[in-house]
């Protein structure tokens, strides 16, 4: 079950993925040992991406793994994201909110050099952020940064951002790839310049790109490899063949059913970790019969999540509890019991709703077939009739999503509870695909957002999640792993909960001799 076209379109743009990671244990251990070795300088990394959708090297306007991955090599962000989802210093070495959490002050790292030798100052940062916010740039990041009211450079290394509304999680917003820092006034993206670990060397749009090591990178000693070459191999089988044949030494997106092929080759290694990617099986809470909470509960109890996980994802997933937040997130409501497969409850709720003989119609894209078929079969065995109607993946988002009353949509997840709930579950969210509108819930989320006191925040978030869990219109069966692969000689790519192949933080990657 691959993330389909429609989903990637939306969620790539989001780039802000979920939160927290529980690295798959045996693999994580092996990696830890590998990282204990001393990195070797030199060598090449040849990476195949899975799409060539856009090869624009402008971070504000790129999309797709190929575009985002390459931008991560060329540029740096003010705030980086740790593999577990915490904001960590990037080009900004520290930050601090005022008491109301509606003005944030960022201190920039000193002596950071662009590829052309220029030193980075707040001028570059202000220009970059204003460019993203400018409607003429048509950046997908504009909506993400929309809360910024005023950008002010206090001096060359101090930046003050005033927000339209308080946000205790604001630094996470700046981890968006669209907000990668450019040198002031430079917008020739056929000769891109950034502060990232690698500099532009060759760019043949639609064919391949080559990047060479940035000798004055701001993390001293890094990066380790001399050169990175990247291109797209869209066909999943061809991509794996290229890895097995040794033509490439890194690739993103291995389908669960192909994992064994990679594992059986001693020269290759699977790179995987739990991530917040998930499919929402969502109903419109404003449309009959889904406006009855009993129907929604019947749908939520009609799936055996553990079996679904094994059948559809071959163990490369963890069970979810109808909340769009990873269980490892500190604000995840652990007090809610795990929802279980329960044919008796399904029948009970259907009877209570008076919908025992209704056939429910689930509108799916051709990319959802595996999972939806398994769900429909389990539901049938529990006494709930589920009919699948298929649409081509290409225009699923246009014809079905947010239009039909029962749909499936894919999400890469968001790094904070506030963002995860705000993006699709509060009444006014532009992607409120379940049309679930509860003013009390909105108030809880808004209050939590501006509360800096952690205990109070936790209570507010817990209560909001309880409401959503009891009443909401989303059935979320599992969180899917990132599954990528490298040659076993490639080391130092730490799996990341928010993106493929260590979310392209490759300044620590190295190639063993």
């Amino acid at each position: 079950m691959a993330i389909d076209q429609g989903i990637s379109r939306r969620s790539f743009n989001a780039a802000l993925a979920g939160a927290g990671a529980t690295a798959a244990a045996p693999w994580g251990l092996a990696r830890a040992q590998a990282q204990a070795q001393t990195p070797r300088r030199g060598g090449r990394l040849v990476c195949a991406f899975n799409d060539g959708a856009s090869e624009v090297l402008d971070p504000a306007r790129t999309k797709g793994q190929n575009g985002i991955g390459r931008c991560c090599l060329l540029y740096s962000r003010l705030v980086d994201m740790s593999p577990q989802g915490q904001p960590v210093p990037g080009l900004a070495e520290s930050w601090e909110p005022n008491a109301a959490a509606d003005t944030w002050t960022f201190k920039l790292r000193r002596g950071v050099q662009f590829h052309n030798g220029k030193t980075m100052t707040t001028k570059d940062v202000v220009w970059t952020l204003e460019r993203v916010l400018d409607a003429k740039t048509a950046s997908s990041g504009r909506a993400l940064l929309a809360d910024i009211a005023e950008i002010k450079a206090t001096d060359d290394h101090t930046l003050e951002l005033k927000l339209k509304q308080a946000d205790a999680d604001f630094p996470v917003v700046l981890t968006a790839y669209q907000a990668m820092i450019l040198p002031e006034g430079h917008s020739d993206f056929l000769a891109p310049i950034g502060t990232g670990p690698f500099m532009h060397s060759l760019h043949q749009p639609g064919i391949r790109s080559v990047f060479k090591r940035h000798p004055n990178y701001w993390k001293s000693g890094r990066p380790y490899v001399d050169e990175v070459e990247s291109f797209a191999i869209a066909d999943p089988v061809a991509r794996i063949n290229a890895l097995l044949a040794g033509e490439i030494n890194a690739m993103i997106t291995v389908e669960p059913k192909q994992v064994e092929r990679v594992k059986s080759n001693r020269n290759c290694a699977i790179v995987t970790t739990t991530g917040p990617r998930h499919y929402v099986h969502g109903v419109r809470c404003d449309t009959a019969p889904y406006d009855k909470v009993d129907v929604r509960l019947a749908l939520k109890h009609a799936i055996d999540r553990e079996r679904y996980r094994r059948l559809v994802l071959g163990d490369y997933a963890i069970v979810a509890n109808d909340l769009p937040i990873l269980p490892s997130n500190p604000y995840y409501n652990k007090d809610l019991p795990q929802r279980a497969y329960d044919p008796d409850k399904v029948k009970f709720h259907l009877r209570k709703a008076g919908e025992e003989n209704t056939e429910f119609e689930l509108h799916i894209s051709s990319a959802h077939v595996d999972g939806a078929t398994v769900y429909a079969d389990m539901a049938r065995q529990a006494g709930l009739k589920l009919k699948l109607t298929r649409y081509p993946a290409e225009n699923y988002l246009d014809v079905a999503w947010m239009k039909k009353p029962f749909i499936i949509s894919g999400w890469f997840g968001r790094p904070t509870v506030a963002l995860a709930l705000q993006v699709a579950y509060v009444s006014q969210a532009s992607w409120n695909e379940t049309f679930w509108k509860r003013p009390e819930f909105d108030r809880l989320v808004a209050d939590a957002r501006k509360t800096l006191d952690q205990a109070k925040r936790r209570d507010l978030f817990f209560e909001a999640q309880r409401m959503l869990w009891e009443d909401g219109g989303a059935m979320i069966p599992v969180f899917e792993n990132w599954i990528d692969a490298t040659s076993s000689k490639v080391k130092g790519i730490e799996p990341h909960a928010f993106g493929a192949l260590g979310f392209y933080y490759w300044d620590g990657a190295w190639v063993d001799a």
């Binding site: 076209q5 379109r9 939306r10 790539f12 743009n13 989001a14 040849v46 195949a48 060539g52 959708a53 856009s54 090869e55 624009v56 402008d58 306007r61 999309k63 409607a135 003429k136 048509a138 950046s139 997908s140 504009r142 909506a143 993400l144 993206f189 056929l190 043949q204 749009p205 639609g206 064919i207 391949r208 291109f231 797209a232 191999i233 869209a234 066909d235 089988v237 061809a238 991509r239 063949n241 290229a242 097995l244 044949a245 040794g246 033509e247 490439i248 290409e394 225009n395 988002l397 246009d398 014809v399 992607w431």
Partner: protein
């Protein structure tokens, strides 16, 4: 002869014009929207409007068509909506790659199919004829994706003698040659039977003519009859089938390009459709149409030149 070429050129131009209308209308009718494709669903109505204006998509369709066609005639193919670079720059490399693949395949497949076809025609209905027919028909019946994947598994993954994908091979000439072997082989399997059968049929048709019997009675050798007497008269249809396959090689090898990650024109077209990148899509589609027109025109001219009766009578 000159009037024929002129007439054919004119006809070709008309075909191209009609094709350009169809291509333009087709791209307008595509479901989905380029602003969604570029901005994603993150787009606000405001950014969407800004983009529509920047791309000039708010003007009437016929104005857009004439402007596009006019620029096209001047050689300006426009800017790729998604990649932000001139379409001509994207086309440049892809077109070259496609020609390399087509040329390499033709160099292999034409002599091979001529040889096999002549062999079949020289000894019709014999054991050799039947085996060549059976094998080539068997190969054409296997879909390209199956042949391609089996070849990759054997030669690249198990025996590691040839690269699995082509894209990594565009570094040096030696790399390129090695990278071309498997795609060329796959394409050869796909079109060999067509050309062998056509050669055989055209030859047998001619071989039934009375003058061949005459040559036989005069005691001419089999090879002389086939090569000297029959082949020149059978060249017309053979050249036409070569042209047809050349057109196919330029425009229709998407599957092979995908299996071998070969950066050619077919994949560019598919990507352009996926991205709703209209200027790119229109340019690629027109180039493919033009390729077909040019190749059939050339085939007609060559066929006439090879046939004295057609050359002089009209």
């Amino acid at each position: 002869m000159a009037s024929l070429v002129l007439g054919r050129l004119l006809l070709g131009a008309v075909t191209l014009l009609v094709a350009s209308l169809l291509v333009f209308a087709g791209t307008q009718a595509l479901p989905g929207d380029v602003t969604t494709a570029i901005l994603g669903n993150e787009a606000t109505p405001e950014t969407r409007a800004a983009l529509v204006e920047r791309l000039g998509l708010d003007r009437p369709i016929h104005v857009q068509y004439f402007e596009w066609a006019g620029r096209f005639l001047r050689g300006d193919l426009g800017l790729s909506l998604v990649n932000d670079v001139p379409v001509s720059r994207l086309l440049d490399l892809r077109l070259k790659n496609t020609f390399i693949l087509a040329l390499a395949t033709i160099i292999v497949v034409v002599p091979l199919s001529l040889f096999l076809g002549l062999l079949c025609a020289a000894y019709p209905n014999g054991r050799l004829d039947s085996s060549i027919s059976v094998v080539s028909l068997f190969l054409i019946s296997l879909p390209e994706f199956l042949v391609g994947i089996i070849l990759v598994l054997l030669f690249a993954v198990y025996w590691s003698v040839l690269p699995a994908t082509s894209i990594s091979g565009f570094r040096s000439f030696e790399h390129l040659v090695r990278a071309l072997v498997l795609p060329v082989l796959t394409l050869t399997f796909a079109i060999l039977a067509h050309m062998v059968r056509m050669t055989r049929a055209a030859m047998l048709e001619v071989m039934r003519a009375p003058y061949i019997e005459m040559a036989l009675l005069k005691g001419a050798s089999r090879s002389r009859i086939v090569l000297r007497h029959a082949l020149p008269n059978a060249l017309g249809p053979i050249i036409n089938v070569i042209a047809l396959n050349l057109g196919y090689l330029i425009s229709g090898v998407v599957v092979v390009e995908v299996i071998f990650a070969y950066p050619g024109l077919g994949k560019l077209l598919v990507e352009a459709i996926g991205n709703r990148d209209l200027p790119l899509l229109q340019a690629v589609a027109l180039i493919m149409v033009a390729a077909y027109i040019v190749f059939t025109l050339l085939a007609d001219i060559v066929a006439r030149l090879s046939n004295p009766r057609l050359r002089f009578k009209q």
